[in-house]
Amino acid sequence: MKCPYCNNNLNIEDKYCPYCGKENKFAKEHQESMEHYEADYTATKQDVIAETKRFQTKTIRITILAVMAAIAAAFLILALSADDLSYSRREKAVLAKATQHKAAINALMEERDYLAVDEYMDANHISYSDGFDEYYAVEQASSYYSYFYGNILQILSRRLDDQEKTYYASEEELLTEIGKDISKINEACDLGEWYEEKGCYTPEKTAYLEDLQNQVAVLVSAYLNVPLEDAGNISAMSEARIIVLLEENYNGEKED
């Protein structure tokens, strides 16, 4: 730039003209501008650094929360699938001992221990295993026999004086349940062609089922006052007919 007084060359930073010695008022303004600019720059720089730090902290926190949320979601899905996984694991263990289990079941069937067959299959988680399809009819019949027998025990136990407060089902309800149990047993003994093809009705199993039905008839006759002949035909009756038969005879109201 030029000095306004002597017109010689002058630098903007020179406070005084080196030629005429006059004060350079532009230098002062320039100095003030530079100082202002520097202050702005420093402030802006600090703001940017602070903002970046805040952003980084926020990002890190959000990332941590997102990862934790993903882990929580993964465990939630695992918890929801746990039953299936547990079933698979259990099924594998049951099938690993299939030969042993079948031998045990066959032995109990030979002894005609219907209750034990049901309990064995239940306690060892065999009832719903895919590897034991051939025992499905036996399992179903034995299971409903257990319910039937338990209800018979309840009917018998009520004959002892202190039983009123123990049982919640009335005699009528028990008879209805017994009727349903017998009907289910009958169903299990004749499930159809598909089950026959699966081996559910081999001669041994058929003999077991027939003996089971015979024992049901004998118990019904002995303890529910149904004439033996009628009890013997119970395997061919409908559920409703069975219930009526039980109610008529147990209460002693049979029609002539």
Binding site: L76, R89, L115, S157, V218
Partner: protein, 135 residues
Amino acid sequence: MAKKKINFNWFTVAVAVLAVLIAIFAIVAFSKIFSGYSEYTNGPDTILNAVKRHDYDSAVGSALHDRALGKDGEDYKVPYAAVDYLNAEILYVAYEAADDNARAADCKAKMDTARKDMGEVAKTIATEIDAMLSE
């Protein structure tokens, strides 16, 4: 300064909540997957007490369950024998009424065997079962 404190708290709460959820879901998941079989047993006292209070359905069910899981031994001798006696006599009376002598005889034999193992409670239990079965 006050603003910074609030920011810190929301993050801490969120982390705590997520950590608790992760723990809960993990515990539920692994306990279900590795829950193993239902290995509970009723025990000889449970069975015998059920017989003594005439809760025969419960007694039979409990004995069957423990037996199916292979529970045995001296402690189980009397409870199992009591339940065996009960079941044998129920069937004996029924088969006798149906004139099925062969099966009735089988049941009688089982009753005699069971009675020997019932020990001191034999008389009491047998008497009560007889009373129950005679109308």
